[in-house]
Amino acid sequence: MKTSVPRQKISTTVSPETHRYLKSLVKAGRAATIAEAVDMVVRRAKRAENRARLERDTAAYFANLPASVQREEARLETVLAQSADEVLFDE
């Protein structure tokens, strides 16, 4: 179900290429209006940014683990794997 959100009016100009793309989204039925097409594109961009940030920070977390934390994580991996070994998934 669609919920209505308060909308902010803006007045701006865009490149012909951007305009063509936004119109193509409306023509394809993926957005009802140019304004909705803009919202959709921004939502996609934000999701992509979120995803890239998560991938980057996850890589950095593991790459930068101090030796003491790395040792503890390795120990945890071992004991958790041993403990999970005895779980019967047909229970």
């Binding site: 998560l54 101090p66 934390v69 945890l76 999970a84």
Partner: protein, 132 residues
């Protein structure tokens, strides 16, 4: 995060979501603190012999799937790091003793989101400020 094992103690646990337990992990079992994250319907069911847990570590820093919790919140003796990337299934008979405090529903929502970042690249993520 570990403490010395308590050999021979095997009780049928009745854990609840948000509780911190001492659990015997590994072979031979070493006592670690873990957080129960599975739903109570599963935790209480006598037809399911396992729960979902996330272990605490004593060393670490905050990251997308790691959260630092203070003793005032957990009741544990020192700051601890909850490691969402180590979520796992644990048989209930490995749970030894309920410890510390129960984490609040809002904290558990935050932790659920943190765990989801370990497997869902589209999970919401705002980097934490600071860290250890």
């Amino acid at each position: 995060m570990t403490s010395s094992p308590s050999p021979g103690r095997q009780v049928r646990a009745t854990p609840r979501r948000g509780e911190i337990w001492a659990a015997g992990l590994g072979n031979p079992p070493v006592r670690h603190w873990v957080l129960i994250v599975s739903l109570d319907a599963r935790n209480a069911s006598d037809r399911v012999n396992s729960v979902l847990i996330v272990p605490f570590g004593s060393a670490g820093y905050e990251g997308p799937t790691t959260l630092r919790l203070d003793p005032g919140e957990t009741g544990l003796p020192a700051p601890s790091y909850l490691k969402g990337h180590f979520i796992t299934t644990l048989t209930k008979d490995r749970l030894l003793r309920r410890e510390g405090r129960v984490l609040s529903p809002s904290r558990m929502r935050q932790i659920s989101q943190m765990i989801s970042r370990a497997f869902d690249p589209a999970a919401p993520y705002e980097p934490l400020r600071g860290g250890a």
